[in-house]
């Protein structure tokens, strides 16, 4: 609960006396970030005055929001970068006023964190979701090779639905998922790679075209997120898959509820869960400590690694451990 309250606060009222933590979310309605946000709000309740901003996937906007937050007297900043390379600019602004910065979810270059004593990171490694997705694919492929290697050439022929080109997650996931599968000793053929811009509808339409073109040759569908995976499934269903013995393995990232449902129904092989609750909680805990001038880890169970980062790991979700995914929405 408490969605409306803390985000609409203007630095007065009940929370007015609490230390102010200025936060930006790269995109409010990102399905994962909306959970992180909520975890942040829950963690902030009664402890800090959390000032949340929606950067609308625009780094310039975020930079401006940081100006505003500083002008409003934020004692620490919790920043979910749009563009990881812009961390230096944020730090430059914070440094002038000696304000600590907790980056979360999108990791800045280590050297940048290095350059400001009061900068930290909470989150995963950007590449990790790709790696986990790759491991998931490799495992599933090895287990079902008989059925899934339709042309029997021992190679995995895949199509890949990429997120928005240039988006750090899209780039990292695309690269690392394929690299990982190859590392596991599986030979692959890329039939097609195209951008679905994170969008289910675009994914459906690309999949329509690919099915028309490659038909039986496609052996695996890899999507940078669950939304596009679901879009691909809609197209596959239309083409007669998932009824009778016609099957196509599809994987995504995010573990959104609909994807969990698909996994349970056997229409999706797996997805990758990012731990929103802990990411949000950790971010606020560090931010609150920083705002109060304490050591960032004081009174928490978190540890910093050598890159001044608190790591919250990704989890692979398949039918076997579906409950882990479901619990995330409890």
């Amino acid at each position: 609960g408490g969605t409306e309250k803390s985000s609409t606060d203007s630095g007065k009222g009940k929370d007015g006396d609490l230390p102010a933590v200025g936060a930006t979310i790269y995109k409010f309605d990102d399905n994962f970030m909306s959970y992180v946000r909520r975890a942040m709000e829950t963690a902030a309740d009664g402890k800090v005055n959390l000032m949340l901003n929606d950067s609308q996937n625009d780094q310039a906007k975020q930079v401006e929001q940081v100006d505003t937050l500083i002008a409003k007297g934020a004692k620490s900043l919790a920043i979910n970068l749009v563009d990881p390379k812009a961390a230096q600019t944020i730090i430059d602004k914070a440094k002038v006023k000696d304000i600590p910065v907790i980056f979360f979810n999108k990791e800045p270059d280590a050297s940048v964190l290095e350059g400001y004593e009061k900068a930290y990171y909470v989150g995963t490694t950007s590449s990790e979701s790709g790696v986990i997705q790759g491991e998931l694919i490799a495992k599933a492929w090895e287990a079902n090779k008989e059925a899934w290697d339709k042309n029997g050439d021992g190679k995995l022929q895949y199509v890949l639905l990429k997120g928005e080109p240039g988006h750090p997650d899209a780039e990292a996931r695309t690269k690392f998922v394929v690299d990982t599968v190859k590392e596991k000793g599986i030979q692959v053929d890329e039939l097609a790679l195209d951008t679905g811009m994170w969008d289910a509808m675009k994914a459906t339409e690309k999949m329509d075209a690919w099915l028309a073109k490659y038909n039986e040759n496609i052996e695996f569908v890899i999507a940078n997120n669950d939304g596009m995976a679901l879009g691909a499934i809609a197209s596959l269903e239309k083409a007669g898959y998932f009824s009778g013995d016609k099957f196509m393995p599809v994987v995504g990232v995010d573990a959104i509820p609909e994807a969990l449902e698909m996994i349970e129904k056997g229409k999706m092989v797996g997805t990758v869960l990012n731990d929103a609750k802990n990411q949000g909680a950790a971010t606020v805990q560090l931010g609150a400590n920083a705002a109060n001038g304490k050591d960032v880890l004081e009174g928490t169970e978190w540890k910093l690694d050598d890159k001044k980062a608190v790591r919250v790991p990704y989890v692979e979700i398949t039918k076997e451990n579906i409950q882990v995914g479901k619990d995330a929405y409890k």
Binding site: D199, M201, E205, A209, L211, A212, L230, I256, E261
Partner: protein, 340 residues
Amino acid sequence: MNTQATKKSNVVKWLFDNVIYVFLILLVIGIVIASPDFLSMTNLINILSQSSSRIIIALGIAGILILGGTDLSAGRMVGLAAVVSASLLQAGDYAYKMYPNLPELPLFIPILIAMAVTGLFGTLNGFIVSKFHVPPFIATLGMMIGVYGVTSIYFDRPPYGAQPIGGLSESFTTFAQKGIKLGQYEFPYLILYAIAFSIIIWVVWNKTQLGKNMYAIGGNAEAAKVSGVNVAKNIIIIYMIAGLLYGFSGTLEAGRVGSATNNTGNMYELDAIAACVVGGVSLSGGIGTVPGVITGVLIFQVINYGLAFLGVSPYIQFIVKGAIIIVAVAFDMRKHAKKK
């Protein structure tokens, strides 16, 4: 000799008058040359069904363009309708329902609700444009931003927050994903909806007073006023109809992919407006036909689908698509070319 010349010039004239249809055919031929297996029933059905909900949106926008207006809020309205209808049409046994206690509703109720909502916003657009004389670009830009806010608030709510609204009931997905089996092919219902709406809109534009008034207002609003056309009323109705069309299209979009988010429909308006213009609708109003609009959408969809089918690299796709749009319209403009 002379009659031959005339015949030839008649053919040339016909080609110029119908340049977009010619262009569409050339486009298809080009793709087929690049990849002969493009010529298949499956591809045809895919392109038609992918065009269907876009045609419905484009017909809505086209009416507004013919009025001399524009509508930047179309995409966001599609998103609103998608989210609203999806939220009301989740399967009874789906675990993550937005309204856990809502029974499964008969299909038409959520569709009507979604259409009513966007119809209302459309009416509001028309009202702002005609009564407060706000230029349509601004009125609908404001609406685009505002509607997105409304959709987001509706969408990003407890219990599940900003999650794609999925688990749609089977009746809904059937409605939007299935079709009539004809031999080995399934002819999607989507196409039928698009045909039905095209016919209705064709009749409205060509056979009713509202249609004539629409062309009159777009052709010369001052003259329309003097001719006794209730300009404001007709503008509002056309915007309302557009809203209704977006609403229906939005439910189709949700049903077609099986889920909806607040970003569904984002930027559809640009594609739709561009398709209208490619299809011969004049941005300054007064000119446009239903077959033209349909052709415009098809051209766009053939480009989108064809480039993906050919496996053109995504970045190059953008460049080629941009170029084709410009070239298509440049060709079309030659028919108006007049030095004269």
